[in-house]
């Protein structure tokens, strides 16, 4: 027996079966995943990637459905118009503030909620289900409801704000160009807090409990435990969530479209709602695509910047 099972290291003579093996089982292993993947690939390719390329090409064309004879390639004309378009620059600034305030409030309120949910209290399960409920509300419904709440005649908020002395009289906040943006922002905060709370809660629960016990034995106060253990542990999750969420919110036009339609006087127009109104109301696809490409470029620059920043800061 031992004789046969020698530890031989024969020369690399190719066995006759090798090529056949590659063709059959190997072939099967290569192809099989694509059987499962092909519907997804086809769908994403046809409905997202190809239109994406077409969309970019539209930005170099004049395509106005209301003006069908004025169609064709126009080079950078749309971009030149964009550069001179005051509404574009207003929308850009609005996009920044809309995203910034939405994220700032969603994150801080979400973190607070996650910390609360990470403790024990009576009726926690029910509480959790109820505070997460806004996330399930269809966007157009939240928009309508908040528009109602902000209505000076029939909504309670202006009256309450007046009673608290914040407003001098119950007037229409969403009719005031200086304040109008706060309407959609508040609705967005309401809608977005659960998302942050859920994500951060998951991260919180992954922190091993012994760390806190060790810190307590070492004499750390609750605040020190929070800043020295909780925050550093959450940091990677926070970074990635905030980045993705920023991009998502900057693209999120539904609330604004329903609540203010971008008005009054474009004071709530953000880039993505500007894309939509240009495409939907003016049917000017060329110009809408140019705005969209500009938005995409800005978001790309932002993403690259954040990733660069992360690389600089994370020195592990």
């Amino acid at each position: 027996m031992e004789g046969k099972a020698v530890i031989s290291r024969k020369q690399n003579n190719v066995m006759p079966g090798e090529t056949r093996a590659r063709r059959s089982l190997y072939w099967q292993y290569m192809v099989e995943p694509f059987l499962y993947l092909s519907p997804a690939i086809v769908l994403i390719g046809l409905v997202m990637m190809i239109p994406l390329v077409i969309g970019i090409s539209y930005s170099f064309q004049s395509i106005e459905l209301l003006n069908p004879f004025n169609t064709g390639w126009v080079g950078f004309e749309n971009y030149i118009d964009l550069w001179a378009d005051r509404k574009f620059w207003i929308a850009l600034e609005n996009t920044f503030w809309w995203t910034f305030w939405s994220i700032a409030f969603q994150f801080s309120l979400g973190l607070g909620l996650a910390l609360l949910l990470n403790t024990d209290f009576f009726g926690k399960k029910l509480f959790q289900a109820l505070v997460f409920l806004p996330w399930a509300v269809p966007t157009f419904l939240s928009a309508l409801t908040w528009a109602w709440l902000f209505n000076p005649v029939i909504g309670p908020l202006p009256h309450w704000l007046t009673a608290l002395g914040i407003l001098s009289e119950p007037y229409n906040i969403m009719g005031d160009p200086d304040l109008a943006m706060w309407g959609p922002i508040v609705a967005n905060i309401w809608f977005g807090v659960p998302f942050f709370a859920i994500t951060l809660l998951a991260a919180l629960q992954s922190i091993p409990g012994e760390l806190y016990e060790a810190a307590e034995i070492d004499g750390a106060s609750a605040w020190q435990s929070f800043t020295k253990i909780t925050l550093p542990f959450l940091a990677p999750m926070i970074a990635i969530t905030v980045m993705l969420r920023t991009i998502w919110i900057a693209n999120f036009a539904d609330l604004i479209f329903v609540m203010t339609g971008g008005g009054p006087a474009n004071s709530t127009q953000i880039l993505s709602s500007y894309v939509f109104t240009t495409a939907f109301r003016k049917l000017d696809f060329g110009y809408a695509s140019a705005i969209a490409v500009a938005l995409l470029a800005i978001l790309l620059v932002y993403a690259v910047f954040v990733l660069w920043l992360r690389k600089k800061l994370v020195k592990i």
Partner: protein, 359 residues
Amino acid sequence: MARIELKDVKKRYGSVEVLRDVNLDIEDGEFIVLVGPSGCGKSTLLRMIAGLEPITGGDFLIDGKRMNDVRPRDRDIAMVFQSYALYPHMDVARNMGFSMEIRKDPAAERASRVKKAAETLGLTALTERLPKALSGGQRQRVAMGRAIIRDPRAFLFDEPLSNLDAALRVEMRLEIARLHQKLGATMIYVTHDQVEALTLADRIVVLNGGDIQQVGSPLELYERPANKFVAQFIGSPTMNIVPVTGGDGEVKTADGSVIKLPHLPDCGAAVELGIRPEHIDVVDPSEGDLIGVADVVEHLGSDTNIFTVVEGLGPLMVRKHGNIPAKSGDRLGLRIQPENAHIFGPDGRALRRVLEKVG
């Protein structure tokens, strides 16, 4: 029942070679254990035999028929997984009978085979339970039941006992040995535990870094390791290996002590001496080959482990049967049993065979 042959079997992941030219003949009814440190390719080899990993090159034959391209389901081989891989949504009886269910065997036959297997493994009272309601040992039995019910050509075991606690492991090891005696089927068993390998195997295949190091019966591996790796991998406690200078019929340590090895031919300058702890005798300091100073002494009752330090040689572990009245700090005479000494050349290969010719 099956005879399994591997001829120049290779496995590559991209450019990484996991197994190189494995050649192995497994006789019908043999119990083969593949053993080696983690990452040595033993599990990959088993999975290639099972058909779960494609074979990069070479030939794999069962009863003389090439099986490289045959799907796992058509190889008629059963496998017991490390995680047991019991179907969580099926009760014990259905788990065991699943392969017959798939082959659409008649329900009555299935039921009787399940019943018989359950009896063999002592699971009769548990057949209606779901896997989550079973203990680790019971799950292990169900996994084995699932394998034996099909009466396959060969059984594969992938570290089946590593999730059990020590006492259960001994019990299940015996159970597997009994099963092999009863069924007489070809079994291939993967483990990193040399005790399992030594107790179960007809032949052990030691793998390291994608190469077969040695194939042989447990005693062969213990008595005549082919190289330093096998020498240190098989046997517990581990074999002592110390550098010496070779000479004619003797070796010298760094500080000039001479160890007489009369069987040893002239073996060149720099070699290594390997000696198992149980093959060193404790004698009077004036009589030994070497003088060791006891550092730590462990009294196990049945055995005594003495960790000594030998000047010019380094640490040397000694294991003696029974209770040796030694304590830390004692100077002990150590005598190397020449018939059990191993000499390894600079390439790590054992020079043992030359030695045997004389003996």
